[in-house]
């Protein structure tokens, strides 16, 4: 029982840190109804600014913190001004995608400047500790708590007692009305971003000192934890965000004590799913909300799709078929094989995100299920590889749909968060369920693809299998989205209230879309597994989900030819500029940003 106090204190400290992030997210969401995925990157930049101050410049603690907060505030304002203000008229999900692009760019920039390796961030506080119960509290713990409380108090005072604070609250309640009352809404947005980013940066440097460790990828987890905390408390609700953060910190702390550190993130995501499933308005409200008027929530930009004549498509497929015979460079063949596999993923994603309008950021999780299912069926049960691949597709269809099912009642950006969390949960379960998946060791010795009992080991054979499966899936999807099924899915995308009013059961058709999508993604993951012969929980990560989304938007949401084109472009073109391999992720982030801003309907147009 002594350690209970220990874990409680630990949980509250961690919760305080999360609160600094969550409050920023809540402020931004409250004022501009925006899910800011770039917040974690600002937090990470804060940690690195702190490192520069401490390790390179040796500044005293107050100056370090001031620099971090000022630097991040400037970054936040820049993000708002350059990345988000131009998107004001766009559908709500456009800024979310833009912030994803921004976070990619920031993460990669820092990685390029500082290297992806973790580095230590020593705390500049004295190292005494106070005995409390059977544990102890250090100066840093107290400082984090003090910082959290002080920030909350200052923020409260600002919002409650200053004119600008009142303007912020007014804009959060009703932006148009505030505008009419003479509130400079743009300035309010900038102030909010500045404050939120400063708090995020502060949190980053404190976390860095607390764990004596910073690394460029640390932002992503912070963003997700911040979301969980925010959603638990009620989106946009600042006190709720603080309460949610403390709750999250406590649950994580107790959970780690009972189950071990590797489960830490799993808790956050499971809480997220639970909240989204049962209490999407947060734990502290019980509202039965009526759906908003149309033209909200989805991303599809109106456009006329470019129509490609059938003979051109047939010629393209023919050219792709004979390519390995004509161009004997195995590197090119392998790159294109990769492109076909991504093409399957893009097809799968364009069906749910494009045709059905359900923005999914967790499709890599489907790849993982497919890859592991096929690998384990072949290795552990001796199933012949072709059958294993097919079964993997079906398993992914069923399991994937089941996993996303709790999120079906969500709309717009909440689906994006939910699917992101589900993707993470899949990978975490794979990591932790060692009995089934061999845990962090991964699965090695996966048998290669085979046809009629003959193993396919040369690049050309694998290429043809991948191409054939992709073309087959494309034809399947094209056929399915004609006539009644296609227009029913699109109706759900366009206006789900009107769709329900005309008898369309949302669960049924979302389920169908995710099932077909899961089948395609599962096949892709399975073929990848047999091709690589080794996979682990990091093979199919969130970056792949975002990359797939970029491909789909590039090609045009819902556009089948566009999805394949997007895959070939984003896989093939960087290989042409091989010297720029390091910058690939940076380029992907920029491409996403530019697309969202200037050509949301993609190259081929939305369907």
């Amino acid at each position: 029982m002594n350690s209970f106090l220990d874990h409680t204190i630990n949980g509250l400290i961690i919760g305080n840190i999360y609160a600094l992030v969550a409050v920023g997210l809540a402020l931004i969401f409250g004022v501009s109804n925006l899910i800011n995925f770039a917040h974690g990157s600002v937090y990470m930049v804060g940690a690195y600014i702190g490192w520069v101050c401490v390790a390179a410049l040796g500044t005293p603690l107050p100056l370090t913190l001031a620099t971090v907060m000022a630097g991040c505030a400037v970054l936040g304002v820049a993000i708002e001004r350059l990345g988000l203000r131009p998107l004001q008229g766009a559908p709500r999900i456009a800024p979310l995608l833009a912030t994803i692009g921004i976070s990619f760019v920031l993460d990669q920039l820092v990685q390029l400047i500082f290297s992806p390796d973790p580095r230590s961030l020593p705390s500049q506080l004295p190292s005494w500790r106070l005995q409390v119960g059977s544990g102890s509290i250090g100066a840093l713990d107290l400082f984090v708590a003090a910082a959290g409380i002080a920030s909350a108090a200052l923020l409260y005072a600002f919002l409650r007692f200053t004119r600008l604070g009142a303007a912020v609250r007014a804009t959060a309640q009703d932006r148009d009305a505030a505008l009419q009352m003479g509130v400079d809404v743009n300035r309010v947005n900038q102030v909010v971003f500045a404050i939120a980013s400063a708090l995020g940066g502060l949190s980053g440097v404190l976390v860095g000192m607390y764990y004596n460790n910073i690394f460029p990828a640390m932002g992503f987890q912070a963003t997700l934890k911040g979301f969980v905390a925010q959603l638990v408390g009620g989106a946009g609700n600042v006190p709720g965000a603080i309460a949610g953060s403390l709750l999250l910190g406590l649950i994580e702390s107790y959970g780690i004590a009972i189950l071990g550190t590797s489960y830490r993130n799993l808790f956050a995501f499971i809480i997220l799913m639970a909240v989204l499933a049962w209490r999407p308005n947060g734990l502290f409200s019980a509202g039965r909300k009526l759906p908003p008027e149309p033209l909200t929530g989805t991303f599809v930009a109106p456009s006329r799709p470019l129509s490609v004549p059938r003979w051109a498509l047939a010629a393209a497929v023919g050219a792709a078929l004979i390519l390995p015979l004509v161009w004997r460079d195995s590197y090119v063949v392998q790159t294109l094989t990769n492109a076909w596999l991504y093409g399957m993923l893009a097809l799968s994603l364009t069906l749910v995100a494009g045709t059905a309008g359900q923005m999914s950021l967790g499709h890599a999780g489907l790849l993982a299920i497919g890859g592991y299912a096929s690998a384990l069926l072949a290795l552990d049960l001796g199933v012949p590889v072709p059958l294993a691949v097919l079964l993997a597709g079906l398993i992914t269809a069923a399991l994937g749909t089941l996993l996303v099912f709790p999120a079906f009642r969500l709309r717009g950006h909440y689906i994006a968060i939910a699917t992101l969390a589900i993707g993470e949960i899949v990978n975490l379960v794979i990591l932790n369920w060692e009995g089934l998946t061999r845990g962090p060791i991964g699965v090695a010795g996966i048998p290669p693809l085979e046809l009629f009992g003959q193993p396919l080991v040369d690049a050309a054979s694998v290429y043809w299998v991948a191409l054939a499966v992709m073309v087959g899936l494309a034809l399947l999807q094209w056929r399915l989205t004609q006539f009644h099924l296609g227009r029913t899915l699109r109706a759900i995308r366009e206006d789900d209230v009107a769709a329900r009013a005309f008898g369309i059961s949302l669960n049924r058709y979302k389920g169908l879309a995710f099932a077909v999508s899961g089948f395609a993604a599962g096949l892709s993951g399975a073929i990848t597994a047999h091709m690589y012969s080794y996979i682990n929980h990091e093979t199919f990560n969130t970056q792949i989900s975002v990359l797939a989304l970029t491909m789909v938007i590039l090609g045009g949401l819902g556009n089948i030819v566009g999805a394949i084109l997007g895959a070939v472009a984003l896989i093939g073109l960087p290989e042409l500029f091989r010297g720029l391999a390091e910058y690939r992720m940076l380029v992907y982030g920029l491409v996403l940003l530019l697309l969202v801003r200037f050509r949301p309907q993609g190259v081929m147009g939305t369907v």
Partner: protein, 282 residues
């Protein structure tokens, strides 16, 4: 037997009682209008009837069966179709697709009512597309065109254009066409002429009149009183969540309670016609 029976229905949002013990009936073939000042609770009433919201108290019966609290999908299958106050068409879909979607509940060949594996059967049928499925699709397309001829040359020439490219009036017409594709037993129209100019309103009047002549039962929310008076068999007046008057159009129009609800105070209504009064010298 009445087609629709609303018995003492109440719905509150926090401190505000939007619908307060409202009762009304609609007989088959009738056109009943619900009128009243803004905020009277008309659209909330519609939402309660069509399943977008559930009543806190009271009963709603359609063809004798209780439908209060049923989801909108079930009500559509029972033959209830509606249009929305601000015109919710499927913006990126063509006019034809919009109307075809109205007929979703009537799909039988491609959407058999099989328990459990129904969705998979539907998927298989959409993939294989046997003759019965293709015939049904063709039949629905022909019916959709027929429905669009009701609107003269307004929609047919634009049948393949996306709905967002249509004028506001045309979008509202598409909404009605979509509702008709459901072959409704009861059609609920929420301010079908909102935002329309007099000539568009007159056109819409003729369309609704034609629908009524075909025997369609219609429940109408409207603000334009000339329209209401011309079309309605009965008028129900709401104010502040309650029914304040009900009856034949001519009776309701002269009811003092109705005049007061719309115009404020009855004497002000009379004074507006009279010559302006001289201000009295102090």
């Amino acid at each position: 037997m009445s087609l629709l029976e609303i018995v003492n229905v109440t719905r509150s949002f926090g401190g505000l009682t939007a619908v307060d013990g409202v009762s009304l009936t609609v007989a088959p073939g009738e056109l009943v209008s619900v009128i009243g000042p803004n905020g009277a609770g008309k659209t909330t009433l519609f939402n309660l009837i069509t399943g977008l919201d559930a009543p806190d108290a009271g009963e709603i019966r359609f063809e004798g069966r209780s439908i209060g609290g049923l989801p909108p999908e079930r009500l559509a299958a029972l033959g209830l179709a509606r249009t929305f106050q601000h015109g919710r068409v499927f913006a990126n879909l063509s006019v034809l697709d919009n109307v075809l979607l109205g007929a979703h509940t009537r799909l039988r060949a491609v959407r058999p009512q099989v328990p459990l594996v129904g969705p998979l059967v539907e998927l298989a049928l959409a993939l294989v597309r046997p003759a019965s499925v293709r015939a049904e699709e063709q039949r629905l397309r022909d019916e959709a065109r027929e429905i669009l001829t009701l609107f003269g040359e307004r929609l047919l020439p634009r049948i393949d254009q996306p709905a967002y490219s249509l004028s506001y009036a045309n979008r509202r017409r598409v909404e009605i066409a979509r509702a008709l594709a459901l072959r409704p037993r009861l059609l609920l129209l929420d301010e079908p002429t909102a935002g329309m100019n007099p000539s568009e309103t007159a056109e819409m009047l003729e369309i609704i009149r034609a629908l009524k002549a075909r025997g369609l039962t219609i429940l109408l929310i409207e603000h334009k009183l000339e329209l209401v008076m011309e079309l309605s068999d009965r008028v129900v007046v709401m104010d502040d969540g309650r029914v304040i008057a009900e009856g034949a159009p001519e009776l309701v129009r002269n009811d003092p309670a109705v005049i007061e609800a719309y115009l404020g105070h009855s004497t002000i209504g009379e004074a507006a016609d009279a010559a302006p009064r001289e201000l009295e010298a102090v």
